[in-house]
Every structure is written in structure tokens, then in C-alpha cells.
């Protein structure tokens, strides 16, 4: 074992304060930082600065994967590119067809709602971000993306991919941000079961391929294969985005709640590129004015405890009364749209 004699020739004791004192000082410092990070708002700034300092390392860590990607891209053969091009072409055609149908539906919808003009589009702005890091700690489902405050990313911004909801922005740095995925145990997303219209909450399980619906009564109308979409309650996610599909329902008569699992629709652990969306608050599918929510808190307080007497939860989305457990209470007055 090499190098045992480092401090040979030095006084062993008597240099600087004792270990115990030093530990006490740093422990107090840590506790202060923790307290501030948990309670005080301004510590966001400190976080922001540290996140900026962390960015180069994140990029460096990601660079081998990025280099590999770049290499395969630049050495792909002409045939491969042609095949890919053809495939994309077909995809565009299919999407255009779907879009035609959607425009017709939107017009019809506007007529049914007796509006003279078509409703504004839900998505006001969107941008693509690249995933430059994934959370390494088991059970924590987080992504680091390469867009930050400089690109207009803000906290609680919804993050989706082509097939469904992925999560929301939890921390913003200058050039990068941290995304908490819907499968993180600290995350909960208000959802609606499309078949029955039942609203509930999907909580992350810590596995990339599982969501838990822990608030469904044992006799609720849910079965395997049901599609879950975001319900628009809670003020973060717009309504109607696919969240997942029910994979298992277990009912035990002695229990009050059913044990329901779902698998997320978005490609949670395989996404290389994600989309950050800004939605237009004038659209009826947008969530009622998002409060400056901090991180999504798993079990939302029952709506009874909200600041109830002011303007009640908006009629903005699809009628938001109903099943008690659904959604965080909308604290701010909603934008009531006709």
C-alpha cells in the first residue's frame, strides 16, 4: 500500500481546529443550506448558480454518447438515409391525413360550442430539447436536458414526447434544466380514464415502466387496457395528453382501494429528445392558471382545505367538479371562458 507516509515530518496534532470542531462548523453550514433550500425562495438563485457550474461536467459526461451518435449519423450510408427519408415521408403523409381530420373536428367542436371562431390552438410554443443526462440514483426518475432559462424554460413546464407525457421541469439552470418524470415517486399527475371519464391521480412508482393509481375505490370502473389522459386539473399539464395505459387491476374485497398499475405512454427511459410546450391559456384545454407550484407533491390535499370561498375552481376545463381526490385544488381564480 503506497503512500502511507504522507504526513511524515509534520506535527500530527496541533494543526488547525480539531476534527470535531470542523465537523460541527460544516454540519451547521449544511443544515443552514438545507433549511434555506427547503424553505426560502431566494435559495433558488444559489441552486441556479450551482446548476450553471454543473453544466460543463454534465456535457462532458454526455459527450461519449453524443460523439457516438454523431459518428453513426455522419457515417450512415446513402441507402440508410434514403430509407429513413422514405419512412419519414410516409409518416408525414399519415400525420397530414390525421391533421385534416382534426381540423374538421375542431371546427365541428367550435360549432357545437356555439362559438363563431375556432378555438385557439392549445400549444402556443414548443421547443425540442436534448437529453444530456439521466438520474443515476435508483428510484429517482429524472432527466437533465440541454435547455434552460436562456431558452425560456420555466419551472413546471410540461415535457412530452411524440407518444405521451414525460414529466415537468423541476429545476431550471441557465443552460440546462432538470425534469422530474411522471414515474418518479415524488411526482403525481392528475389523469382521467377516457373510457369511463373517471378522474384520479397517477403517482410514480420509481420504475420507468410503471405508474400507480392509488386513489381508486375498489368498485371503480377501471379495467386493464384503459387509456389514461391528463385531466387538465392541477394547473401544470394541459388536458387530453396521453399519460399511460392500465396494465393491471387487483381488487380485494377487504380493501377500500383497488391496486391499479399503468404503464406510461411516453418513452420514459428511451427518449433522446423531448418537447417542452408552452400552452395558450385561452384554450379550453389549458389547465386553469398555474400557480407557482413547487414540485408536484404526491398526495394532494383534499380540495375542501383549499382557499375555498373565493372564485371556486374554474369551469375552464372540462367541468372540474367531481371526484374529490382528483387534482390539486385550483387556488387562483380560473380564467372563466364562455
Amino acid at each position: 500500500m503506497a503512500g502511507f507516509g504522507t504526513s511524515v515530518g509534520r506535527p500530527i496534532y496541533g494543526r488547525g481546529p480539531s476534527p470535531g470542531l470542523r465537523f460541527t462548523v460544516y454540519a451547521l453550514l449544511s443544515l443552514t443550506v438545507m433549511y434555506l433550500d427547503q424553505r426560502a425562495r431566494w435559495s433558488q438563485r444559489l441552486h441556479y448558480g450551482l446548476e450553471a457550474a454543473a453544466y460543463p461536467v454534465q456535457v462532458a459526461v454526455n459527450s461519449p454518447a453524443a460523439a457516438l451518435h454523431w459518428l453513426t449519423d455522419s457515417f450512415s450510408t446513402r441507402n440508410m438515409l434514403r430509407a429513413q427519408n422514405l419512412q419519414l415521408h410516409r409518416q408525414v403523409q399519415a400525420l397530414q391525413l390525421a391533421l385534416l381530420r382534426q381540423q374538421a373536428l375542431e371546427r365541428e367542436n367550435a360549432q357545437l360550442r356555439e362559438l363563431r371562431v375556432a378555438l385557439p390552438a392549445l400549444v402556443k410554443k414548443w421547443q425540442v430539447a436534448e437529453v444530456i443526462g439521466v438520474e443515476a440514483v435508483p428510484l429517482r426518475q429524472r432527466l437533465i436536458i440541454n435547455k434552460g432559462a436562456h431558452d425560456g424554460v420555466h419551472i413546471n413546464q410540461p415535457v412530452v414526447d411524440g407518444s405521451g407525457v414525460l414529466g415537468q421541469v423541476a429545476h431550471v439552470g441557465p443552460w440546462s434544466s432538470e425534469v422530474i418524470l411522471i414515474t418518479d415517486p415524488e411526482h403525481a399527475i392528475p389523469v382521467q380514464i377516457t373510457r369511463s371519464g373517471l378522474r384520479t391521480i397517477a403517482v410514480g412508482s420509481g420504475n420507468a415502466d410503471e405508474l400507480l393509481l392509488t386513489y381508486l375505490a375498489v368498485n371503480s370502473d377501471v379495467k386493464s387496457g384503459d387509456l389514461l389522459v391528463s385531466s387538465g386539473l392541477g394547473g401544470v399539464f394541459p388536458a387530453g395528453y396521453p399519460v399511460g395505459r392500465i396494465t393491471g387491476v387487483r381488487r380485494e374485497p377487504s380493501q377500500l382501494v383497488a391496486q391499479v398499475q399503468a404503464e406510461p405512454a411516453g418513452r420514459i427511459d428511451r427518449a433522446r429528445e423531448v418537447m417542452l410546450i408552452d400552452f395558450d391559456s385561452a384554450s379550453p384545454a389549458a389547465p386553469p392558471a398555474a400557480q407557482a407550484l413547487t414540485e408536484a407533491s404526491p398526495p394532494p390535499p383534499p380540495p375542501v382545505a383549499s382557499t375555498g370561498n373565493s372564485v371556486d375552481a374554474s369551469g375552464g376545463g372540462s367541468s372540474s367538479a367531481g371526484s374529490g381526490a382528483a387534482g390539486r385544488p385550483a387556488k387562483k381564480k380560473g380564467r372563466a371562458k364562455p
Binding site: M1, A2, G3, F4, T6, S7, R10, I12, R15, P19, G20, R22, F23, V25, Y26, A27, L29, S30, L31, T32, V33, M34, L36, D37, Q38, S43, L46, H47, L50, E51, A53, A54, V57, Q58, A60, V61, N62, A65, G133, V134, E135, A136, V137, P138, L139, R140, R142, A170, H171, E178, P185, E186, G206
Partner: protein, 157 residues
Amino acid sequence: MSDRENLLVILLTSLAALVLNILPLPGWLPVIRPAFLVLTVLYWSTMTPFVAGAALGFIAGLFLDVFQGTLLGEHALALSFVTYLALRFNLLMRAKPIFEQSLYVLVALVAYETFLWVIDGWTGRSLSSPLRWVHTLVGALVWPVVVGVLGRFHAAR
């Protein structure tokens, strides 16, 4: 060897350990990944207690907090405690054969993880899966390797 030179080596190896710590790994590998940065800090504060001390632990911990998105100060506190143990018991530990050192390392890592566990619980982030303790055992097992690798930097002059 001068302290300054030594400090440079310490910072560079700590940076490398940090990168190993946050490198995305597929599948189950993250579960069994040892806490490289903790081991590195532990090594340096045991072997060169006058150069690397509580400050290194604190700063390394802050970096871990930022990269892992945990409560700021959580890892800093746990790592400060690890360096405290190292500074307090470095003479005892250095006198032991390497496999006995591994036992001490296991104790330090369990103490480290306990700090994190308790803080997670207090702040309502309780992720109490038994898997979080796996890395302590792995860390103790790879300690001889850490000593071998870092000792090389250490003895090079």
C-alpha cells in the same frame, strides 16, 4: 511532495470520481454502483488528513447534491461526517491491513447512507427502498481497488 501538488491530484481524482458517480448507466448497474466520490474523499482524508479534510467533503457533497437534484446540503452533511470519521480515526485505520480497512469503510458508508436516509425521511422524500443500501457493501468490497488506484497517484513522486 508539496501540498499544492497534492491538492491538485486530490481535486482531479475527485472530479473523475464525480463523473463516474453521475455517469448514466443502463439497467441495474446504478444500484450496484459504489459511491466513487465518497470513497475518493474518504481515501484522501484518511491518507492525507492535512490536505484533504472537511472542506473537501463539504464541497464534494454540495456537488453531489446539485448533480443528483437532492436537497442542497444533504450530501454535504453526510460527507462532512465521513471526513470527520476519517480525520478522527485515520491513524487507527492506516495501521490496519487492507481488508480490515474495508470493514471501517463499510461502517463509514453505512453512516453516510444513514444520514441521507434520515434527511430524506425528515423532508418527506422518503424513498425507503432497501436497494439504497446496496452501494455501501459494494463500496467496502472495492475499497482495495480504490486504494490501489489512488495509491498509484499518491506514490508517484
